[in-house]
Protein backbone atom coordinates (compact mmCIF):
# COMPACT_ATOMS: atom_id res chain seq x y z
CA UNK A 1 0.00 0.00 0.00
CA UNK A 2 1.63 3.22 -1.17
CA UNK A 3 0.88 6.35 0.88
CA UNK A 4 0.62 8.48 -2.23
CA UNK A 5 -2.39 6.68 -3.63
CA UNK A 6 -4.23 7.00 -0.33
CA UNK A 7 -4.59 10.77 -0.43
CA UNK A 8 -7.92 10.31 -2.17
CA UNK A 9 -9.91 7.15 -1.47
CA UNK A 10 -13.48 5.93 -1.77
CA UNK A 11 -15.36 6.14 1.51
CA UNK A 12 -17.78 3.52 2.75
CA UNK A 13 -19.24 4.80 6.03
CA UNK A 14 -21.67 1.90 6.56
CA UNK A 15 -24.97 2.02 8.42
CA UNK A 16 -23.62 2.43 11.96
CA UNK A 17 -21.82 5.66 11.10
CA UNK A 18 -25.11 7.18 10.06
CA UNK A 19 -26.67 6.22 13.38
CA UNK A 20 -25.03 5.52 16.72
CA UNK A 21 -21.56 6.05 15.26
CA UNK A 22 -22.33 9.50 13.93
CA UNK A 23 -19.50 11.10 15.91
CA UNK A 24 -17.06 8.64 14.34
CA UNK A 25 -18.28 9.62 10.85
CA UNK A 26 -17.99 13.28 11.66
CA UNK A 27 -14.57 13.09 13.29
CA UNK A 28 -13.17 10.84 10.53
CA UNK A 29 -14.22 13.35 7.86
CA UNK A 30 -12.90 16.30 9.87
CA UNK A 31 -9.54 14.64 10.51
CA UNK A 32 -9.27 13.78 6.81
CA UNK A 33 -9.97 17.36 5.86
CA UNK A 34 -7.44 18.68 8.38
CA UNK A 35 -4.77 16.32 7.03
CA UNK A 36 -5.47 17.21 3.42
CA UNK A 37 -6.92 13.81 2.62
CA UNK A 38 -9.90 13.38 0.36
CA UNK A 39 -12.79 11.01 1.06
CA UNK A 40 -15.29 10.41 -1.73
CA UNK A 41 -18.38 8.68 -0.41
CA UNK A 42 -19.66 5.75 -2.47
CA UNK A 43 -22.81 6.62 -4.37
CA UNK A 44 -25.88 4.60 -3.42
CA UNK A 45 -23.94 2.29 -1.11
CA UNK A 46 -25.78 -0.48 0.71
CA UNK A 47 -25.43 -2.36 4.01
CA UNK A 48 -22.41 -4.71 4.03
CA UNK A 49 -24.61 -7.54 5.30
CA UNK A 50 -23.42 -7.01 8.85
CA UNK A 51 -24.13 -9.91 11.20
CA UNK A 52 -27.77 -10.34 10.35
CA UNK A 53 -27.48 -11.35 6.70
CA UNK A 54 -24.29 -13.29 7.31
CA UNK A 55 -26.03 -15.47 9.87
CA UNK A 56 -28.83 -16.28 7.44
CA UNK A 57 -26.78 -16.76 4.26
CA UNK A 58 -23.11 -15.73 4.06
CA UNK A 59 -23.18 -15.77 0.24
CA UNK A 60 -25.75 -12.98 0.22
CA UNK A 61 -23.57 -11.03 2.62
CA UNK A 62 -20.68 -11.53 0.20
CA UNK A 63 -22.83 -10.17 -2.63
CA UNK A 64 -23.94 -7.14 -0.60
CA UNK A 65 -20.35 -6.28 0.28
CA UNK A 66 -19.18 -6.93 -3.29
CA UNK A 67 -21.77 -4.52 -4.67
CA UNK A 68 -20.08 -1.74 -2.68
CA UNK A 69 -16.71 -2.76 -4.12
CA UNK A 70 -18.24 -2.61 -7.62
CA UNK A 71 -19.45 0.93 -6.94
CA UNK A 72 -15.95 1.94 -5.82
CA UNK A 73 -14.47 0.43 -8.97
CA UNK A 74 -17.01 2.16 -11.19
CA UNK A 75 -16.17 5.46 -9.49
CA UNK A 76 -12.56 4.90 -10.48
CA UNK A 77 -11.10 3.87 -7.13
CA UNK A 78 -8.92 0.90 -6.24
CA UNK A 79 -9.12 1.58 -2.49
CA UNK A 80 -12.18 1.88 -0.32
CA UNK A 81 -11.89 2.98 3.29
CA UNK A 82 -14.30 1.48 5.82
CA UNK A 83 -13.91 2.83 9.39
CA UNK A 84 -16.28 0.32 11.03
CA UNK A 85 -14.67 -2.99 12.02
CA UNK A 86 -17.77 -4.93 10.98
CA UNK A 87 -17.89 -3.35 7.50
CA UNK A 88 -14.12 -3.60 7.12
CA UNK A 89 -14.25 -7.28 8.06
CA UNK A 90 -17.15 -8.02 5.70
CA UNK A 91 -15.66 -6.23 2.71
CA UNK A 92 -12.32 -7.96 3.29
CA UNK A 93 -14.09 -11.27 3.62
CA UNK A 94 -15.96 -10.67 0.35
CA UNK A 95 -12.64 -9.92 -1.37
CA UNK A 96 -11.23 -13.17 0.01
CA UNK A 97 -14.26 -15.31 -0.79
CA UNK A 98 -14.49 -14.03 -4.36
CA UNK A 99 -10.82 -14.88 -4.87
CA UNK A 100 -11.00 -18.33 -3.32
CA UNK A 101 -14.51 -19.76 -3.38
CA UNK A 102 -16.22 -20.71 -6.64
CA UNK A 103 -19.67 -20.89 -5.13
CA UNK A 104 -19.36 -17.31 -3.84
CA UNK A 105 -18.25 -16.17 -7.30
CA UNK A 106 -21.24 -17.91 -8.88
CA UNK A 107 -23.80 -16.51 -6.43
CA UNK A 108 -22.33 -13.01 -6.70
CA UNK A 109 -22.50 -13.15 -10.51
CA UNK A 110 -26.10 -14.38 -10.46
CA UNK A 111 -27.30 -11.73 -8.00
CA UNK A 112 -25.38 -8.93 -9.74
CA UNK A 113 -26.93 -9.89 -13.05
CA UNK A 114 -30.37 -10.00 -11.51
CA UNK A 115 -29.83 -6.58 -9.92
CA UNK A 116 -28.59 -5.24 -13.25
CA UNK A 117 -25.11 -4.08 -12.33
CA UNK A 118 -21.58 -5.11 -13.13
CA UNK A 119 -20.25 -8.19 -11.35
CA UNK A 120 -17.35 -7.48 -9.02
CA UNK A 121 -14.19 -9.37 -9.87
CA UNK A 122 -11.69 -10.17 -7.13
CA UNK A 123 -8.61 -7.99 -6.91
CA UNK A 124 -10.02 -4.80 -8.37
CA UNK A 125 -10.50 -2.91 -5.10
CA UNK A 126 -8.71 -3.16 -1.75
CA UNK A 127 -10.56 -2.40 1.47
CA UNK A 128 -8.63 -0.48 4.10
CA UNK A 129 -9.49 0.62 7.63
CA UNK A 130 -9.38 4.23 8.85
CA UNK A 131 -6.25 3.26 10.81
CA UNK A 132 -4.51 2.03 7.63
CA UNK A 133 -5.60 5.17 5.84
CA UNK A 134 -4.12 7.69 8.29
CA UNK A 135 -1.08 5.58 9.13
CA UNK A 136 -0.13 5.02 5.47
CA UNK A 137 -1.29 8.27 3.90
CA UNK A 138 0.19 10.52 6.58
CA UNK A 139 2.30 8.50 9.02
CA UNK A 140 3.42 9.28 12.54
CA UNK A 141 6.20 11.68 11.66
CA UNK A 142 4.02 13.96 9.56
CA UNK A 143 1.17 13.64 12.04
CA UNK A 144 3.43 14.69 14.93
CA UNK A 145 4.56 17.68 12.84
CA UNK A 146 0.95 18.78 12.37
CA UNK A 147 -0.09 18.47 16.01
CA UNK A 148 -1.23 21.85 17.33
CA UNK A 149 -2.59 20.74 20.65
CA UNK A 150 -0.71 17.74 22.04
CA UNK A 151 -2.71 15.08 23.86
CA UNK A 152 -0.28 15.99 26.59
CA UNK A 153 0.38 12.60 28.14
CA UNK A 154 -3.28 11.59 28.22
CA UNK A 155 -3.22 7.96 29.34
CA UNK A 156 -4.92 5.86 26.70
CA UNK A 157 -5.86 2.18 26.49
CA UNK A 158 -6.26 1.33 22.81
CA UNK A 159 -9.15 -1.03 22.23
CA UNK A 160 -9.29 -2.66 18.78
CA UNK A 161 -12.04 -5.21 19.42
CA UNK A 162 -12.09 -8.70 18.00
CA UNK A 163 -13.04 -8.03 14.35
CA UNK A 164 -10.18 -5.81 13.24
CA UNK A 165 -7.66 -8.65 13.07
CA UNK A 166 -9.80 -11.74 12.75
CA UNK A 167 -9.82 -14.11 10.93
CA UNK A 168 -6.18 -13.63 9.98
CA UNK A 169 -6.40 -15.11 6.48
CA UNK A 170 -8.64 -12.33 5.15
CA UNK A 171 -5.98 -9.73 6.02
CA UNK A 172 -3.04 -10.74 3.80
CA UNK A 173 -1.36 -7.36 4.26
CA UNK A 174 -1.05 -7.80 8.04
CA UNK A 175 1.79 -9.64 9.85
CA UNK A 176 4.32 -8.69 7.17
CA UNK A 177 6.99 -7.45 9.52
CA UNK A 178 8.05 -3.90 10.32
CA UNK A 179 5.55 -1.29 9.17
CA UNK A 180 2.67 -3.71 8.85
CA UNK A 181 -0.15 -4.23 11.30
CA UNK A 182 -0.03 -7.20 13.66
CA UNK A 183 -3.00 -9.50 14.16
CA UNK A 184 -1.83 -10.60 17.60
CA UNK A 185 -0.66 -7.22 18.93
CA UNK A 186 -2.25 -4.52 16.79
CA UNK A 187 -0.47 -1.19 17.16
CA UNK A 188 -1.57 1.25 14.44
CA UNK A 189 -3.88 3.15 16.80
CA UNK A 190 -1.17 3.16 19.50
CA UNK A 191 1.33 4.56 16.97
CA UNK A 192 -0.96 7.36 15.77
CA UNK A 193 -2.07 8.44 19.22
CA UNK A 194 1.50 8.36 20.55
CA UNK A 195 2.46 10.67 17.67
CA UNK A 196 -0.31 12.99 18.85
CA UNK A 197 1.12 13.07 22.37
CA UNK A 198 -0.84 10.33 24.14
CA UNK A 199 0.77 7.99 26.63
CA UNK A 200 -0.42 4.51 25.69
CA UNK A 201 -0.79 2.06 28.55
CA UNK A 202 -0.17 -1.68 28.35
CA UNK A 203 -3.65 -3.12 27.96
CA UNK A 204 -4.08 -6.90 27.85
CA UNK A 205 -7.66 -6.83 26.50
CA UNK A 206 -7.04 -4.74 23.37
CA UNK A 207 -8.48 -7.42 21.06
CA UNK A 208 -10.87 -9.08 23.52
CA UNK A 209 -14.57 -9.52 22.75
CA UNK A 210 -16.86 -6.74 24.03
CA UNK A 211 -19.91 -8.96 23.78
CA UNK A 212 -21.32 -6.81 20.98
CA UNK A 213 -22.95 -9.80 19.32
CA UNK A 214 -24.62 -10.72 22.60
CA UNK A 215 -25.98 -7.26 23.31
CA UNK A 216 -29.60 -8.13 22.64
CA UNK A 217 -29.66 -11.88 23.25
CA UNK A 218 -27.62 -11.89 26.46
CA UNK A 219 -27.13 -8.35 27.65
CA UNK A 220 -26.04 -9.39 31.16
CA UNK A 221 -22.99 -11.17 29.73
CA UNK A 222 -22.25 -8.14 27.54
CA UNK A 223 -22.42 -5.86 30.57
CA UNK A 224 -20.04 -8.07 32.54
CA UNK A 225 -17.61 -8.34 29.61
CA UNK A 226 -17.61 -4.58 29.10
CA UNK A 227 -17.29 -3.86 32.82
CA UNK A 228 -14.24 -6.11 32.92
CA UNK A 229 -12.73 -4.26 29.94
CA UNK A 230 -13.36 -0.90 31.62
CA UNK A 231 -12.00 -2.02 35.01
CA UNK A 232 -8.94 -3.57 33.37
CA UNK A 233 -8.27 -0.33 31.48
CA UNK A 234 -8.49 1.56 34.76
CA UNK A 235 -6.20 -0.96 36.46
CA UNK A 236 -3.72 -0.24 33.66
CA UNK A 237 -3.88 3.45 34.51
CA UNK A 238 -5.96 4.57 31.50
CA UNK A 239 -7.95 7.78 31.61
CA UNK A 240 -9.43 7.10 28.18
CA UNK A 241 -10.24 4.06 26.08
CA UNK A 242 -9.69 4.84 22.39
CA UNK A 243 -11.93 2.96 19.97
CA UNK A 244 -11.99 2.43 16.22
CA UNK A 245 -15.30 0.60 15.78
CA UNK A 246 -18.81 2.03 16.28
CA UNK A 247 -20.20 -1.25 17.61
CA UNK A 248 -17.48 -1.63 20.23
CA UNK A 249 -17.70 2.08 21.09
CA UNK A 250 -21.46 2.03 21.59
CA UNK A 251 -21.24 -1.24 23.53
CA UNK A 252 -18.61 0.18 25.89
CA UNK A 253 -20.62 3.34 26.46
CA UNK A 254 -24.02 1.69 26.92
CA UNK A 255 -22.78 -1.07 29.19
CA UNK A 256 -20.73 1.38 31.24
CA UNK A 257 -24.04 3.03 32.12
CA UNK A 258 -25.79 -0.33 32.55
CA UNK A 259 -23.01 -1.72 34.79
CA UNK A 260 -23.53 1.17 37.17
CA UNK A 261 -27.32 0.79 37.12
CA UNK A 262 -27.60 -2.99 37.29
CA UNK A 263 -24.41 -4.05 39.06
CA UNK A 264 -23.72 -0.88 41.04
CA UNK A 265 -20.18 -0.74 39.61
CA UNK A 266 -19.11 2.71 38.50
CA UNK A 267 -16.12 3.25 36.25
CA UNK A 268 -14.69 6.63 35.32
CA UNK A 269 -12.63 5.85 32.24
CA UNK A 270 -13.83 7.87 29.21
CA UNK A 271 -14.50 6.36 25.81
CA UNK A 272 -13.52 8.30 22.69
CA UNK A 273 -13.03 7.44 19.04
CA UNK A 274 -9.37 7.65 18.05
CA UNK A 275 -10.40 10.12 15.34
CA UNK A 276 -11.88 12.41 18.01
CA UNK A 277 -8.57 12.37 19.89
CA UNK A 278 -6.55 12.93 16.72
CA UNK A 279 -8.90 15.72 15.66
CA UNK A 280 -8.45 17.61 18.92
CA UNK A 281 -4.68 17.11 18.73
CA UNK A 282 -4.79 18.61 15.24
CA UNK A 283 -6.48 21.69 16.65
CA UNK A 284 -10.14 20.90 16.00
CA UNK A 285 -12.60 21.79 18.75
CA UNK A 286 -14.22 19.08 20.86
CA UNK A 287 -17.54 20.11 19.33
CA UNK A 288 -16.24 19.78 15.78
CA UNK A 289 -15.30 16.13 16.41
CA UNK A 290 -18.65 15.37 18.05
CA UNK A 291 -17.56 14.88 21.65
CA UNK A 292 -20.94 16.18 22.83
CA UNK A 293 -22.51 13.09 21.22
CA UNK A 294 -20.56 10.69 23.44
CA UNK A 295 -22.44 9.07 26.31
CA UNK A 296 -19.41 8.92 28.60
CA UNK A 297 -19.05 12.68 28.83
CA UNK A 298 -15.31 13.35 28.69
CA UNK A 299 -15.46 17.14 28.64
CA UNK A 300 -14.17 17.75 32.18
CA UNK A 301 -11.19 15.51 31.55
CA UNK A 302 -10.52 17.13 28.18
CA UNK A 303 -10.64 20.58 29.75
CA UNK A 304 -8.16 19.47 32.43
CA UNK A 305 -5.85 18.32 29.65
CA UNK A 306 -6.28 21.54 27.71
CA UNK A 307 -8.22 19.84 24.96
CA UNK A 308 -11.75 21.01 25.63
Amino acid sequence: MDGGDLKKVAYYPGCALEGTGHAYNRSTKEVGKKLGLDLVELKDWNCCGAMEVKNIDPKIQTYLSARNLTIAEEMGFDKVMAPCNGCYHNLKKAEYDLAHDEKSVEVNARLSQKAGHKTYEAGKVETIHALDWIKKAVGEEELARRVQNSLNGLKVANYYGCMYTRPRHIFPEKDKGPGSESTSKPHFMDDLLAAAGAQNVEFPLKTACCGGAHSLSDSDTSTKLVLNILETAEACGAEVIATECPTCHTGLEMHQVRAEKVLGRKTNVKILYFTQLLGMALGLSAKKVGVQENLSDPRDLLRQKGLG
Binding site: N55, Y96, D97, L205, N228
Partner: protein, 157 residues
Amino acid sequence: MTTTEAPFAELLDRVDARLTDAPLTATARALADLQLAEAEDVLEAWLESKGRTPTGDTVEGFRLLALHRQGAKGDPSFNACRETCREIVYLRNVVTEYDGDMPEARHSLRLQSMVVKHLALFVGGKMVEAGLGDFCCSSRPIRHSDAAAAGPTIQGD
Protein backbone atom coordinates in the same frame (compact mmCIF):
# COMPACT_ATOMS: atom_id res chain seq x y z
CA MET B 1 -28.68 -10.60 37.69
CA THR B 2 -26.77 -12.81 40.14
CA THR B 3 -23.38 -14.33 39.56
CA THR B 4 -24.54 -17.78 40.63
CA GLU B 5 -26.71 -18.10 37.52
CA ALA B 6 -23.76 -17.84 35.17
CA PRO B 7 -21.37 -20.59 34.09
CA PHE B 8 -18.07 -20.57 36.02
CA ALA B 9 -19.75 -18.72 38.88
CA GLU B 10 -17.44 -20.20 41.52
CA LEU B 11 -14.35 -19.44 39.50
CA LEU B 12 -15.53 -15.88 38.92
CA ASP B 13 -16.19 -15.43 42.64
CA ARG B 14 -12.68 -16.68 43.41
CA VAL B 15 -11.15 -14.31 40.87
CA ASP B 16 -13.16 -11.39 42.27
CA ALA B 17 -11.96 -12.24 45.77
CA ARG B 18 -8.38 -12.12 44.49
CA LEU B 19 -8.95 -8.70 42.95
CA THR B 20 -9.16 -7.12 46.37
CA ASP B 21 -6.03 -5.70 47.95
CA ALA B 22 -5.81 -8.53 50.46
CA PRO B 23 -2.36 -10.00 51.13
CA LEU B 24 -1.40 -12.77 48.74
CA THR B 25 -2.37 -16.21 49.97
CA ALA B 26 0.52 -17.83 48.10
CA THR B 27 3.61 -16.75 46.24
CA ALA B 28 2.98 -14.63 43.18
CA ARG B 29 4.45 -17.37 41.02
CA ALA B 30 2.14 -20.04 42.48
CA LEU B 31 -0.88 -17.79 41.97
CA ALA B 32 0.10 -17.09 38.37
CA ASP B 33 0.29 -20.83 37.74
CA LEU B 34 -3.03 -21.32 39.53
CA GLN B 35 -4.70 -18.75 37.30
CA LEU B 36 -3.22 -20.38 34.23
CA ALA B 37 -4.73 -23.68 35.40
CA GLU B 38 -8.10 -21.98 35.97
CA ALA B 39 -8.05 -20.73 32.39
CA GLU B 40 -7.38 -24.31 31.28
CA ASP B 41 -10.41 -25.41 33.33
CA VAL B 42 -12.56 -22.94 31.40
CA LEU B 43 -11.47 -24.29 28.03
CA GLU B 44 -11.82 -27.88 29.23
CA ALA B 45 -15.43 -27.11 30.15
CA TRP B 46 -16.02 -25.63 26.68
CA LEU B 47 -14.61 -28.73 24.97
CA GLU B 48 -16.50 -31.11 27.22
CA SER B 49 -19.75 -29.23 26.58
CA LYS B 50 -19.14 -29.98 22.89
CA GLY B 51 -18.60 -33.69 23.69
CA ARG B 52 -14.86 -33.54 23.06
CA THR B 53 -11.97 -34.79 25.16
CA PRO B 54 -9.61 -31.95 26.15
CA THR B 55 -6.11 -32.45 24.81
CA GLY B 56 -3.12 -33.00 27.06
CA ASP B 57 -0.79 -31.56 24.42
CA THR B 58 0.95 -28.23 24.58
CA VAL B 59 1.56 -25.45 22.07
CA GLU B 60 4.66 -23.31 22.60
CA GLY B 61 5.00 -25.09 25.93
CA PHE B 62 1.52 -24.28 27.24
CA ARG B 63 -1.50 -26.54 27.43
CA LEU B 64 -3.83 -23.52 27.46
CA LEU B 65 -2.78 -22.62 23.92
CA ALA B 66 -3.29 -26.21 22.76
CA LEU B 67 -6.74 -26.28 24.35
CA HIS B 68 -7.61 -23.03 22.59
CA ARG B 69 -6.48 -24.38 19.24
CA GLN B 70 -8.57 -27.51 19.84
CA GLY B 71 -11.58 -25.44 20.92
CA ALA B 72 -11.46 -23.26 17.80
CA LYS B 73 -11.47 -26.19 15.36
CA GLY B 74 -14.70 -25.91 13.37
CA ASP B 75 -15.73 -22.86 15.37
CA PRO B 76 -13.92 -19.80 13.96
CA SER B 77 -15.68 -17.38 16.32
CA PHE B 78 -13.85 -19.04 19.22
CA ASN B 79 -10.73 -17.33 17.93
CA ALA B 80 -12.06 -14.14 19.49
CA CYS B 81 -10.40 -15.41 22.70
CA ARG B 82 -7.10 -16.45 21.10
CA GLU B 83 -5.22 -13.35 22.26
CA THR B 84 -6.97 -13.52 25.62
CA CYS B 85 -5.35 -16.93 26.15
CA ARG B 86 -1.99 -15.67 24.96
CA GLU B 87 -2.18 -12.72 27.37
CA ILE B 88 -2.84 -15.10 30.27
CA VAL B 89 0.31 -17.01 29.36
CA TYR B 90 2.30 -13.80 28.83
CA LEU B 91 1.26 -12.35 32.20
CA ARG B 92 2.07 -15.64 33.93
CA ASN B 93 5.54 -15.43 32.39
CA VAL B 94 5.96 -11.84 33.52
CA VAL B 95 5.02 -12.77 37.10
CA THR B 96 7.46 -15.67 37.17
CA GLU B 97 10.28 -13.32 36.12
CA TYR B 98 9.94 -11.43 39.39
CA ASP B 99 11.33 -12.83 42.56
CA GLY B 100 8.87 -12.62 45.44
CA ASP B 101 5.98 -10.32 46.21
CA MET B 102 7.02 -7.21 44.30
CA PRO B 103 4.61 -4.46 43.17
CA GLU B 104 5.29 -5.32 39.50
CA ALA B 105 4.42 -8.96 40.11
CA ARG B 106 1.26 -8.00 41.96
CA HIS B 107 0.21 -5.71 39.14
CA SER B 108 0.73 -8.40 36.50
CA LEU B 109 -1.05 -10.91 38.70
CA ARG B 110 -4.01 -8.58 39.01
CA LEU B 111 -4.15 -8.09 35.25
CA GLN B 112 -3.89 -11.84 34.75
CA SER B 113 -6.90 -12.26 37.09
CA MET B 114 -8.88 -9.82 34.96
CA VAL B 115 -7.97 -11.58 31.74
CA VAL B 116 -8.92 -14.96 33.19
CA LYS B 117 -12.21 -13.40 34.23
CA HIS B 118 -12.74 -12.19 30.66
CA LEU B 119 -12.07 -15.65 29.31
CA ALA B 120 -14.58 -17.19 31.73
CA LEU B 121 -17.24 -14.60 30.85
CA PHE B 122 -16.67 -14.96 27.11
CA VAL B 123 -16.68 -18.77 27.08
CA GLY B 124 -19.58 -18.89 29.57
CA GLY B 125 -21.55 -16.55 27.32
CA LYS B 126 -20.89 -18.78 24.34
CA MET B 127 -21.97 -21.85 26.28
CA VAL B 128 -25.25 -20.16 27.24
CA GLU B 129 -25.78 -19.02 23.65
CA ALA B 130 -25.02 -22.48 22.30
CA GLY B 131 -28.53 -23.53 23.24
CA LEU B 132 -29.98 -20.73 21.13
CA GLY B 133 -27.60 -20.71 18.19
CA ASP B 134 -24.28 -19.12 17.57
CA PHE B 135 -24.65 -15.40 16.93
CA CYS B 136 -21.06 -14.30 17.00
CA CYS B 137 -19.92 -12.30 14.00
CA SER B 138 -17.64 -14.82 12.28
CA SER B 139 -19.71 -17.87 13.11
CA ARG B 140 -21.08 -20.34 10.68
CA PRO B 141 -24.67 -19.52 9.65
CA ILE B 142 -27.20 -20.61 12.21
CA ARG B 143 -29.83 -21.59 9.70
CA HIS B 144 -27.59 -23.75 7.55
CA SER B 145 -27.73 -27.02 9.41
CA ASP B 146 -25.65 -28.67 6.72
CA ALA B 147 -22.87 -26.12 7.01
CA ALA B 148 -21.34 -27.79 10.03
CA ALA B 149 -21.21 -31.15 8.28
CA ALA B 150 -19.75 -29.65 5.12
CA GLY B 151 -17.34 -27.49 7.12
CA PRO B 152 -17.15 -23.74 6.82
CA THR B 153 -16.14 -22.36 3.43
CA ILE B 154 -13.44 -20.40 5.12
CA GLN B 155 -11.55 -21.74 8.11
CA GLY B 156 -11.02 -19.01 10.61
CA ASP B 157 -7.82 -18.71 12.49
